[in-house]
Amino acid sequence: MSHRHDRTISVEALARVEGEGAMHVEVADGRVEQVQLRIYEPPRFFEAMLRGRSYLEPPDITARICGICPVAYQLSAINALESVCGVGTPDGVPLPDGIRQLRRLLYCAEWIESHVLHIFLLHAPDFLGYQGAIEMAADHRELVETALRLRKAGNQLLEVVGGRAIHPINIRLGGFYRAPTRAELEAMVPELEWAREAAMEATRLVAGFDFPELEQTHTFAALRPELDRLPPGATGYPLEGGRLVTTTGLDVPIEAWPEHFHEEHVAHSTALHGRMKGGGTYLVGPAARFNLNADRLPEAIATLAEEVGCAQAVTNPFRSIVVRAIETAYAFDEALRLIAAYERPERPAVPVEPAAGTGHGATEAPRGILYHRYTLDDAGVITDAVIVPPTSQNQPAIEEDLLDFVQAHLDLDDDALQWQCEQAIRNYDPCISCSTHFLDLTVHRR
């Protein structure tokens, strides 16, 4: 019922998000007292599992945390471990350009696969008024067919570079097991060129959706690559590494992560909650990347962003679908640049010898910064591991946003409010399976 002063809205299982969780909203005397994202998927204890294992194993083991962003886990782990072992560091073993190009290319493919699925098959139905992609497909056949073809292009790129489309197996510490030939990569160029144009057109389409009003005041955090460390052909939007920057002026190397961010337990979630030191919430993900790195987009993509109303910072989370679409077009564009500049390395990998120490690594997973830290002993045995996925970092900010959103829409009846709350949660494309290492909505109106 609408216009009641005391309400409890409960969504017991959130749809079109990855993993299992619920949402609970308490309203008393016309004010929202509490919003909780209740993540009840069991904790997975990956960090504990890694202790005592070889430094060679985290890329393969942590990739299993998530089926849609395994490359992010592989490359965050590799960044951290190679920094300990002196590979790719200023004084260490240099990484050939070709290896660095392939890593970035693999990351482009993962963004395409993840973003396309979320934009077109999971999130667009919210804006077009359908329960899901199947109901939407009958009326928007061309859109769904385009999505399937775009996703296929991403999958093929993952297969050629990573060995297979899900859980790539070709990547390792120091590089790859096999470097693809130029001819193998160039064979994909015609389809990638089509995909770049199709993604740009799709961006214009999603930019025309109706977006509910909601402005965020969170700190945004993202990586920002150092331009002189990019491989040939690459432009500077963040993917496989960079410095840690925020909209509040932080600009530090990733080694400074523990000085500025931490995780804490909360009673209603099996996932840790990320906060800034000092207690503030923050957001990672497409909007954060865009707001901190829009100046790094190549001209054609920057023009597209301006054309679709993203000339300024994006602070309405409902417009995150537009940013994802811009990033999808960027990923295709960047893939084409990397292929054009690709130099097949003489050897697919450089040797990585174990060394004692602690290493930090982070990359921009589709959902935001994914941070890894490993401590090794002399023999390369892992004595400590820390993994901070994007959804854990975003949870407190999502709850704050939902509190504001529900407060502003209490005039809606429970069904309409639940629909919009679920849509709001999907703005963040949460991956509960990653964070437990979500959704039921309950609104309690008293």
């Binding site: 749809a15 079109r16 998000v17 990855e18 993993g19 998530c66 089926g67 849609i68 993840s114 699925l117 979320h118 098959l121 999971l122 899901g132 992609a133 199947i134 109901e135 497909a137 009958a138 056949r141 769904v144 067919e145 399937l148 073809r149 996703r151 296929k152 999958n155 297979r164 489309a165 899900i166 494309d429 991956c431």
Partner: protein, 188 residues
């Protein structure tokens, strides 16, 4: 006549290999194009043969509580009623949701058969259990018998491929080759 045989599942995850075993056994048979689908099933819809093959047979491992090795067969106009869409997560759409999506797009094959082989063990690195291997062989043989222009030699070739697969996957090869007399088929 072209028959598209799609074996869905991971070849190295125990009983999940059933679909791949059937697809590989039928590879190269007259009129057959077989594929092993290990990734997102929605990619089936971007296969040109999905729309042009005269017949599509999709084999996957299922887990419904029946005895391992039980073969389920869904076909006909009411096929989708027996295979409810699951909605999908952010990782893939799943087979049933993909079929519902195909129907919504008006792209269900004119003749589609879905075969589910009941599995029980899905451990990474384990071979499929004996009842599942046997069921996969029976399914492959039944599909070959339904093909046009198949000679006796083709049947033997398929049988040899399944036996070879069994010999490579089982630690007790001789026992694995011991014939069983029946497989429970369940038409829906």
């Amino acid at each position: 006549m072209t028959v598209l045989v799609l074996g869905v599942g991971h070849p190295d995850r125990g009983d999940d290999a059933a679909g791949a075993m059937v697809a590989r056994a039928l590879d190269g048979m007259p009129g057959v194009v077989s594929r092993v689908v290990t990734g997102d099933p929605s990619q089936l819809l971007t296969d040109p043969l999905w729309d042009t093959a005269d017949r599509v047979v999709l084999i996957d491992t299922v887990h419904t509580g029946h005895r391992p090795g039980t073969v389920h067969r869904w076909a006909g106009q009411r096929l989708l009623e027996h295979l409810p869409a699951t909605g999908g997560g952010t990782h893939d759409l799943g087979v049933a949701t993909t079929l519902h999506l195909a129907a919504a797009l008006g792209r269900l094959p004119a003749e589609l058969t879905v075969i589910g082989i009941e599995g029980a063990c899905f451990e990474v690195g384990h071979p499929p259990c004996r009842p599942v291997r046997h069921a996969a062989a029976m399914v492959a043989a039944a599909l070959v018998r339904g093909l046009d222009g198949v000679a006796a030699g083709d049947l033997l070739e398929v049988a040899a491929r399944v036996v070879d697969r069994e010999a490579r996957t089982s630690s007790v090869g001789a026992a694995a080759r011991r014939p069983r007399t029946s497989v429970a088929w369940s038409d829906h």
